[in-house]
């Protein structure tokens, strides 16, 4: 199972729709400071069901919607779609390709789709739990998590360990 495609539109600094095809075992994302690389990581967390705005560096979920620049108006919706190759059927669903789509509107309304069929957030949580890619996954490592993992706070290590065990 692997990530085959990621589409980001209206999420944080992604005013224009951008598509990433991850056709390789090692993909590097590069660019100057502040250009949007960590925002891509936030987009992946978000589409996989992250509900805590703090894990997305915000205070409210609404902050993930493109909020405009000095010369551009804010957008009304953020959308991220991730496509996963499921030929090995790690995801308990019969499709060999699974696309999860998440949308958030300024009004606060949310939409979730599984292969273009509307579903609820908890359907996405159920699909991903136990696959190593659900919320609370140990698949994403950043400097912040490194400091937490080695601090005296043993709960973070415990949570990740339980995810794997």
């Amino acid at each position: 199972m692997y990530l085959s495609r990621l589409q980001i539109f209206g999420f944080k600094s992604f005013l224009h729709k951008i598509t990433f095809k991850f056709d390789g075992q090692i993909c590097a994302l590069v660019g100057p400071n502040g250009c949007g690389k960590t925002n891509i990581v936030d987009a992946i967390r978000w589409v996989l069901g992250e509900q805590r705005p703090t894990l997305l560096r915000g205070e409210r979920m609404e902050e993930v919607i493109f909020h405009g620049t000095k010369s551009r108006k804010p957008l009304g919706m953020a959308e991220v779609a991730i496509t996963i190759d499921n030929s090995a059927h790690l995801l308990p669903i019969e499709f060999t390709e699974v696309t999860i789509t998440r949308r958030l509107f300024r009004s606060g309304e949310s939409e979730y789709l599984l292969n273009r069929v509307p579903c609820r957030l908890k359907d996405i949580h159920h699909l991903l739990c136990d696959t190593g890619m659900g919320v609370g996954t140990y698949s994403i490592l950043s400097q912040e998590l490194i400091d937490t993992l080695l601090s005296s706070k043993e709960e973070e290590r415990r949570l990740l360990l339980e995810e794997a065990a």
Binding site: L3, G24, V30, T131, I140, E154, L160
Partner: protein, 153 residues
């Protein structure tokens, strides 16, 4: 269930030692549950010492040593239940040149089973990638994809 859990902890401990020794070219590392507490509640203790050194607590490790230790911990979980993909956001920033090489060798090895997405400013790491995505903000505040390099180009 408790039996199985304890067995898994032991396997993770063995993995942790193995990956740690690969990243540190030696040394000792242990992971265990806090003794005297119910295993289903106990916190996870880590104790490490790079080759030849003595360490009294994790706080004494240097910036680069902490990064490598955290990578070893994460990968020790991977060996139990591989995650389909692994995202590393600038974890190579605090590493010296030699440790970047050890880190990349480990990534190459694990990339046979998992897909890696690595954010980096490091030229050596970029050279190891099969595919390179360049992102910029030509227009301030607006992200743009500018280039895609596939290895062999």
């Amino acid at each position: 269930a408790r039996e199985k859990f304890l067995q898994t902890i032991e396997r993770i401990d063995i993995n942790f030692q193995e990956v740690f020794r690969e990243l540190f070219s030696g040394g000792e590392a242990h992971l265990r549950l806090k003794p005297g507490v119910d295993p289903l509640e106990a916190g996870v203790e880590i104790s490490v010492s790079p080759e030849g050194k003595r360490l009294f607590n994790l706080g004494q490790l240097s910036g680069g040593e902490k990064t490598l230790t955290a990578i070893a911990f994460l990968f020790s979980l991977y060996l139990i239940k591989p995650s389909p993909f692994c995202i590393l956001d600038e974890v190579d920033a605090p590493l010296d040149d030699e440790n970047v090489e050890r880190f990349l060798r480990l990534v190459k090895k694990f990339s046979q089973n998992s897909q890696f997405i690595i954010i980096t400013h490091n030229k050596r790491t970029m050279a190891e990638a099969d595919i390179l995505y360049g992102i910029t903000m030509e227009e301030p505040g607006v992200s743009k994809l500018v280039s895609v390099k596939v290895k062999g180009d």
